[in-house]
């Protein structure tokens, strides 16, 4: 039998402070980079605009393309290498003119430069301001409904406290993913949103497995006398640890392969999924369980203080 852990008994809950610090530091770094860059970058799905993917016959330096675009006053386009030095993503500045006019002008400007050869237009995406706004609203609804749906499900299957802790873990995972995106200069787009919602589902998955175990242990009466709530949670996390890690490994394999071989178009989505798998596992082990323990602790202390106050009075 190959075993990852033999009767693991790590003190996860006891070391939760460290986990909090690591998470907070990472999120702070991410938000710092967001502030430095003037906010999270939005792709054209949400901000609207025109995106052209072109492939040249031979490698072309960026400044040649920029010079060509400057002739039609599109010098401030975002020009991004895509895969290799023959292929580029051009994000054209928002213009009053219709999408086909803007696209046509940009391509005509590129065609005028003899050194660039004839570029092949591989993809054109145009999202009007109206649609961009609609997609933003839809994205917010989708995120809120996902969180509400999962909160409701866990509250029904377990209890409200577990639901709240799961949602906290979800928020944590999403914040980590957003931070990682900002640190690596990636844009928020529709596929990324899909990845984030998937991460939400995945992360809760792990948490549920641990909660299920806590409850099962309780009904079996496995709780030894005097065993604290923190110990119960810690035991459940340890008992399900090998499953958590094994599943994380298989999912990590697939998303990492997707990131490496799935092509440039899927790369960002695969990146967020991969980060999400890691943070989802981390948050199950450290955040979801730990928060309940801390919450319970706060409540007990608060109750005790109130009792004292009542007794004094």
């Amino acid at each position: 039998m190959v075993e990852l852990f033999r009767n693991p008994n790590f003190d996860f809950i006891g070391r939760r402070r460290w986990a909090y610090i690591i998470s907070v530091l990472f999120i702070l770094a991410g938000f710092g980079s967001m502030v430095a860059k003037g906010g999270l970058r939005y792709g054209i799905d949400f901000s609207g605009g025109t995106l052209i993917q072109v492939r040249f016959e031979k490698p072309v330096p960026v400044d040649r393309i920029r010079r060509a675009l400057e002739t039609v006053r599109m010098g401030e386009s975002v020009i991004q290498e895509f895969g290799d030095t023959r292929e580029y993503l051009l994000r054209l500045p928002a213009a009053e003119a219709a999408s086909e006019e803007v696209t046509k002008q940009a391509l005509a400007a590129l065609a005028k430069e003899p050194e660039l050869g004839t570029p092949e237009v591989r993809r054109v995406e145009y999202v009007g301001p109206q649609v961009g706004r609609d997609l933003q609203i839809q994205a917010i609804y989708a995120a809120l409904w996902s969180v509400a749906g999962i909160l409701a499900y866990i509250a029904i299957r377990f209890d409200m406290l577990g639901g709240m802790a799961s949602v906290a873990a979800i928020v944590h995972d999403v914040l980590i993913c957003l931070s990682a995106m900002s640190l690596t200069n990636r844009e928020m787009s529709l596929p990324i949103l899909a990845a984030l919602l998937t991460i939400i589902g995945y992360s809760v998955n792990d948490t549920i497995v641990a909660y299920d175990r806590v409850r099962e242990n309780r009904t079996k009466g496995a709780r030894r006398k005097g065993e604290s709530f923190a110990t119960q949670i810690n035991n459940a996390i340890n008992q399900t640890l090998s499953r958590t890690v094994l599943t994380a490994v298989t999912v990590f394999f697939t998303t990492a392969v997707l990131y490496l071989f799935g092509g440039k178009v899927l790369e960002d989505m695969a990146f967020v999924l991969t980060i999400g798998v890691v943070t989802g596992t981390f948050s199950t082990v450290y955040i979801a369980g730990s928060l309940i323990v801390d919450w319970q602790g706060w409540r007990e202390r608060w109750m005790a203080r109130r009792k004292k106050a009542v007794a004094k009075a």
């Binding site: 190959v2 999408s99 086909e100 993809r123 009007g128 596929p191 899909a194 998955n205 298989t250 999924l273």
Partner: protein
């Protein structure tokens, strides 16, 4: 459970057979999304207010005719805002009869204002009528676009209404997106208008046109310099013959210049109107106006009784073909505007498919090897179940005519990673029961039944996020939600029911293996 072995094997065989049947023939059974096979995705916004304005203006023309027929002098009829019509009569004596006539003729309108002293009547379109006109404009626009696309010749186009006044057009495998877009988005309102020769166009541009006239431009491209020039014309607003009177249109080639032109045949009413118009106006110039641009303004030399007109104007053959298509299919009742466009070239689509297949094969291989290395024979069982899961996933997509998109491929890859989770949960549980001292059969029994509740919980959460994604997502993202949901649902069958069957066969059925390889 054990007794039903035969029944369960039968069910699995049936499921496999049905899956294979849906997947045959393999090439044509799965729809590829536009991002994989290349093509255009367009969201068009129908400017429904323009349809309302046109309707109100037509009603204005009608009421003007009726009032004049009754000898009531009208000083002005104009549209105000989108749906108001203001009628100004010249003399207060005819007030009563003007009011009655306006109310009778404008049945679709409510009276908003009637100021006898000022001689002004303001009517407004009834809200219900306005809603109907809006809806009709979108519906007719959709039909017209469908007609054009059909005549253009695109395999398996999808044209559907989205929301209140948007039209979603998806054209797979189109080679020339710019041309297709021009063809779809053109309003194609064809009008024949008389040129007002009494007014000099240059001075009219500066000082305005007489009542009932308007300035339209002809675009001329200089053959030498390729500079575009706009030449103004003063024409009468009234269109004597329009695209509605066209029976058919086709491309012909001029014998002398060998330039293509579009030949238009009018229907009976249009032919008569055209014949009358040319008869009464020999010597004047007739402007052929398409979407407010003058194509040409030839002089009428004689009455044209044939009910046939020619539109020339230096077309390329593709332009002439497309013009004939839009004239045959008719004008859009309201102009449309491109709100969203996503065009993927065929080469990028092919690259994506290739990379997607590599990614799926590589992740499958990794997970296969990992499961076998970690769980030995049981891992192999999980691998077989995973294979069945992929088969079911693809067959279900084929069965429902679901579309596979690039994010959908990511969904499949993710399914591979997540579907084995169910088996990992069960196997870990079995190992735990074995460590707790249970027999092989006891451990299998307990492992499956204890893990089952957790498995259901984990499936529900993924399905919840999948459903929400499907509900709010568009196009490619929907494809992701579809593959993820089907994959997860299928894993309930493959990772629980099917693996259990294999375990029963190996350890409880006739084989009765005595050592559990897990």
């Amino acid at each position: 459970m054990r007794r039903n072995l035969g029944l369960r094997i039968g069910l699995v065989i049936v499921v496999i057979a049905v899956s294979l049947w849906y997947l045959y023939p393999p090439r044509s059974s799965i729809n590829l999304g536009l991002d994989l096979q290349g093509g255009i995705h367009l969201v068009l916004g129908v400017d429904v207010d323009k349809a309302l304005e046109a309707q109100v203006e037509r009603a204005g023309d009608t009421v003007r005719g009726e009032l004049e027929k009754k000898g009531i002098a009208v000083s002005k009829i104009e549209r105000r805002g989108i749906s108001d019509l203001a009628i100004q009569i010249a003399s207060p004596q005819s007030w009563d009869s003007a009011l009655t006539t306006a109310t009778e003729v404008l049945g679709a309108f409510d009276r908003k204002e009637a100021d006898q002293a000022a001689g002004r009547i303001v009517m407004t379109l009834k809200p219900r009528e306005a809603t109907q006109i809006r809806e009709l404009a979108v519906r007719q626009g959709l039909e017209t676009i469908r007609n054009r696309v059909d005549q253009f010749g695109v395999a398996e186009p999808s044209i559907q209404q989205q929301g209140e006044n948007r039209i979603l057009v998806q054209l797979p495998g189109v080679q020339d997106p710019a041309r297709a877009k021009a063809l779809i988005g053109k309003t194609a309102l064809l009008e024949f208008k008389l040129v007002d020769d009494k007014v000099d166009p240059e001075s009219a541009v500066r000082s305005g046109v007489p009542d009932g006239d308007e300035i339209l431009y002809q675009r001329r491209v200089d053959k030498e310099t390729h500079q575009e020039r706009k030449v103004p014309f003063v024409v009468q607003k009234k269109a004597y013959v329009t695209g509605r009177d066209v029976a058919t249109a086709r491309v012909s080639i001029d014998q002398n210049t060998s330039e293509p032109y579009v030949s238009v045949d009018f229907n009976a009413a249009g032919g008569k109107a055209f014949s009358d118009l040319t008869d009464a106006n020999v010597g004047r110039r007739l402007a052929i106006v398409l979407d407010g641009n003058i194509h040409s303004a030839p002089q009428i030399r004689e009455r044209i009784p044939s009910g046939r007109a020619q539109i020339t104007g230096g077309f390329t053959s593709a332009e002439a073909t497309d013009l004939a298509i839009v004239l045959r299919a008719g004008a859009l009742p309201a102009p449309v505007q491109v709100l969203e466009e996503r065009t993927v070239g065929p080469s990028l689509g092919a690259d994506s498919v290739r990379q997607g297949i590599i990614a799926i094969l590589a992740s499958t291989a990794l997970v296969f090897v990992f499961m076998m290395a970690y769980y030995r024979l049981s891992g192999l069982i999980a691998d077989v179940a995973l294979g069945l899961n992929l088969l079911l996933l693809l067959a279900t997509m084929a069965g429902f005519h679901a579309t596979l998109t690039l994010p959908g491929i990511a969904g499949i890859a993710l399914t591979i990673g997540m579907a084995v989770d169910t088996n990992i949960l069960i196997f870990e549980r079995i190992r735990e029961e074995l460590r707790g001292g249970k027999t092989i059969r006891g451990a299998i029994e307990a492992g499956f039944s204890r893990a089952f509740k957790t498995v259901v919980d984990t499936h529900v959460t993924v399905l919840v996020s999948g459903l929400i994604l499907f509900q709010f997502g568009t196009g490619p993202v929907k494809g992701f939600a579809v593959t993820l949901m089907i994959g997860i649902a299928a894993s309930l069958f493959t990772a629980v029911f099917f693996t259990r069957l294999l375990f029963d066969l190996l350890y409880m059925g006739p084989l009765k293996r005595e050592s559990l390889s897990i």
